[in-house]
Amino acid sequence: MAAVLVGVFGVAGALLRFAADSWFAHHSTRRTVPGPGKDKLHWPWATLVVNVAGCFIIGISYGLTQRLALGPEWATGLATGLAGGLTTFSSWTTATVRLVSEARFGSAALNIAVNLVLGLGAAAAGIAFLP
């Protein structure tokens, strides 16, 4: 049962993340070098948004399923499936390496720091919200 929930929630998380990727790709620039025009340089906003949201979800997953009197397989589905599928580590590291390859060292460092600080904060907030 847990495996089914992980699969269903994992697909939902992946589709939500892809939707966020697509939305930010459409509403921001893919510019990689500074130049004339108002366009700002690309920055991995979509990954930050899904990682912070997913950290909050994993934080509340255990408290939420307990309050709703759902079995532990639902906590696994929410934590491993939804939060795990929504968040991504590989896009985070790859985007950081990409920023370094473009000699944007400040942006790369900021990408690491902001994901960590907001992600850990969101997880703690989720736990505090529904202990």
Partner: protein, 137 residues
């Protein structure tokens, strides 16, 4: 909006990536109070593969979008996880296991970034960029 084929590929990749991560967690369970090794290696391997594919696809932009979406955001995006890292760090810190959470976070960062950097370079080697005018010697 990406075409339906891309969404389907992301769903299929997301299913495979999530189940594979879940399965590895069952086979290599975490021990309370120690570094969650399964998640660590999942994230390191996933970072390597995604970075390698990214530069390989940069060199081969004709690669079908649905295939890139299914393997990148779908399979590898779902296989690797950020939330499990944040949650485990939070729990280890709450239990006062400071050496463990610092080691886990540090190893995840250093090995994940090294793996991505290595993959980034190897992906370029595997699919050399087409010669640019006035490009590399």
């Amino acid at each position: 909006m990406p075409p339906a084929k891309a969404w389907l590929a992301v769903a299929a990749g997301g299913l495979a990536g999530s189940e594979l991560r879940y399965l590895l967690g069952l086979v290599f369970p975490d021990h309370p109070g120690s570094v969650p090794w399964a998640t660590l290696w999942i994230n390191v391997v996933g970072s390597f593969v995604l970075a390698a594919l990214t530069t390989a696809w940069m060199a081969r932009p004709q690669t079908a979008f649905w295939l890139r979406a299914g393997l990148g955001p779908g399979l590898l995006g779902s296989f690797t996880t950020f939330s499990a890292v944040a949650f485990a760090v939070d729990q280890l810190a709450r239990n006062g296991q400071h050496a463990v959470w610092i080691a886990y976070l540090g190893l995840s960062l250093v090995l994940g970034l090294l793996a991505a950097a290595l993959g980034w370079r190897l992906g370029r080697l595997a699919a050399p960029l087409p010669p640019r005018t006035g490009g590399r010697p």
